[in-house]
């Protein structure tokens, strides 16, 4: 699905702005592999809505990398230009503490209506149709304050009724044992969703500018709950875009727009 909502910002830039607005001052956020997008969102948030936000950039162990510039790999040595750098085993240790990580950025080859994410086998576990890379630290999503799910593709292969394998636990049917707060939102190239507080099922929250409800239904393998008011996602402000482009001179967040 090729999307060009407006000439003046890319869909990744919109998603980064949306994710940034969900972060609050002084929170601690963490992200894993392929995380230029949440990294940009966190840095943007530090400079706008969430001063004092802490973020840990995946495998690098960097805490508050300066993203000067934004890089593609989560273990790039340039991320170590940061406020502080932790050894990776300490990061993994602290992910388990349970009261430290406010926001956990998660993703998946499959994401379901309960906010479960799969980065492992698609299809059968023993003989998968698609062998995903693996979930790395996604099981720790169970212990975070809240989980922000993001996906740079929105189609029926990705958004499914039930994931074939739970790498990152969301709200599972019949289980009330999630020690953390569970998934709080899903951000995609088409829309944002949150979770219905009663059913813990994904609920459409906003449609990105120019996207219709029908397009979302067509691209989604489950039927999201509809909210009372379905609003349009506010576009990135000029200030947000100016910051993102300063962080990202190489245009990592504009590749989809270019291609």
């Amino acid at each position: 699905m090729s999307i060009a909502i407006a000439a003046d910002y890319s869909i990744d830039e919109l998603m980064a702005a949306v994710m940034a607005r969900q972060l609050r001052p002084g929170e601690v956020a963490i992200m894993g592999a392929v995380s230029a997008l949440p990294q940009a969102a966190c840095r943007l948030a530090q400079l706008t809505t969430a001063p004092g936000l802490w973020f840990i950039a995946g495998g690098s162990g960097a805490v508050n990398p300066h993203l000067d510039p934004l890089v593609a790999s989560s273990c790039d040595e340039r991320l170590l230009d940061a406020d502080v750098v932790l050894p990776l085993p300490d990061v993994i240790l602290l992910e388990g503490r349970g009261d430290l990580i406010d926001v956990f950025f998660a993703g998946g080859l499959q994401i379901d209506a309960h906010g479960n994410c799969n980065l492992g086998p698609v299809g059968s576990w023993r003989r998968p149709k698609l062998r995903g890379p693996g979930g790395v630290g996604l099981p720790f999503a169970s212990r975070a304050g809240r989980v922000v799910i993001y996906s740079q593709s929105h189609n029926r292969r990705t958004f499914v009724e039930h994931v074939d394998f739970v790498s990152g636990p969301g709200f599972r049917a019949g289980s009330g044992r999630l020690p953390g707060g569970g998934p709080s939102s899903i951000v995609t190239p088409l829309c944002t969703m949150d979770f219905d507080p009663e059913t813990h099922l994904a609920r459409l929250a906003t449609l990105h500018p120019g996207i219709t409800l029908e397009e979302v239904h067509e691209a989604t393998g489950f039927t999201p709950i509809l909210p009372a008011n379905l609003e349009t996602t506010p576009a990135p402000t000029p200030e947000e875009l100016a910051i993102l482009r300063r962080l990202d001179p190489a245009g990592l967040l504009r590749e989809s727009a270019r291609s």
Partner: protein, 280 residues
């Protein structure tokens, strides 16, 4: 002690320290960074088979190459891929065909498991919530539950990880095997501490006093290190923290070729890993 024996060629290190069929081989690095490629290429040249490959929390080229070359009987991993560059082609082919059993792990099971291995701890109880992923159900040999004797709760526990051999990369080492890391050392120090035999690939020998000038966690003492292999540029096409970044063009070339078995074989030929090139 003949300390001079610590510094070896990659051929000598693999020959002396890697028996055919090593039960549990751990390979260091994270993503496209600090993969000990020279040692891995030497294993491939020699077609040295391993029983089980244990990866770091996020493996990349090193694991995909060993798997593609058919040298891995089964793999214990939490991630094999190439981040934004794509999925791991040889791993996909081997796992999707059913030829390669995958023992699912998560980063907690790897890091806490290596901690247990390094410390002689019999097993590791994992934080509540991890049992909600399917990782433990998919790998019942590695994960069990026990009753917490303090609270009475059922808790998930993981087996210790005690590799027979670890291959890791660092910036420099001295002739006694003392090692200095640069940049991020990921889980490589922990992997070395947990492993019975450790071979470290380095960019260069350390300057006198250089390692002593870095007290703390960026070092490994030589009593943990069986061999040091000096291989400048030896991580390429992956990055070597403190020395060079990854070669994206070369990685993309690998990803393109390795999509087919024939292409993978061509990659081995072109990159000096044909079986004929063993020079023992």
């Amino acid at each position: 002690m003949g300390d001079s024996r610590v510094v070896l060629s990659s051929a000598a290190a693999i020959d002396r320290l890697v028996p055919e069929g090593t039960s549990l081989l751990a390979v260091g690095g994270m993503h496209m960074h600090n993969n000990p490629m020279e040692l891995v290429r030497e294993l491939v040249r020699r077609r040295r088979r391993v029983g089980r490959l244990l990866t770091s929390p996020s493996a990349s080229l090193a694991a995909d190459l060993l798997i593609g070359a058919g040298l891995v009987e089964e793999v214990a991993t939490a991630y094999i891929g190439f981040e934004h560059l794509g999925l791991a082609p040889a791993y996909r082919r081997a796992a999707e065909s059913g030829a390669l059993p995958v023992l699912e792990l998560c980063e907690a099971a790897i890091v806490h498991g290596l901690y247990a291995g390094a410390g002689g701890l019999p097993f590791l109880a994992l934080p509540p919530g991890l049992e909600l992923s399917d990782v433990s159900s998919a790998n019942p040999d590695h994960f069990r539950t026990v009753t917490d004797p303090f609270t009475g709760d059922r808790v998930l526990v993981a087996a210790p990880l005690r590799p027979d051999l670890a291959l890791i990369h660092a910036l420099a080492a001295d002739e006694r095997g003392n090692v200095l890391f640069a940049g991020a050392h990921f889980t490589d120090r922990l992997m070395a501490m947990a492993s019975k035999t450790v071979i470290v690939q380095v960019e260069r020998l350390a300057e006198p006093g250089e390692i002593a000038a870095h007290p703390g966690e960026s070092v490994l003492p030589g009593f943990l290190v069986a061999a040091v292999v000096v291989a400048p540029g030896g991580c390429l096409p992956t990055a070597s923290h403190g020395a060079y970044g990854y070669d994206e063009t070369a990685l993309r070339r690998y990803l393109r070729l390795a999509r087919t078995e024939e292409g993978f074989e061509e990659y081995l030929q072109v990159n000096g890993m044909a079986p004929a090139e063993v020079t023992a």
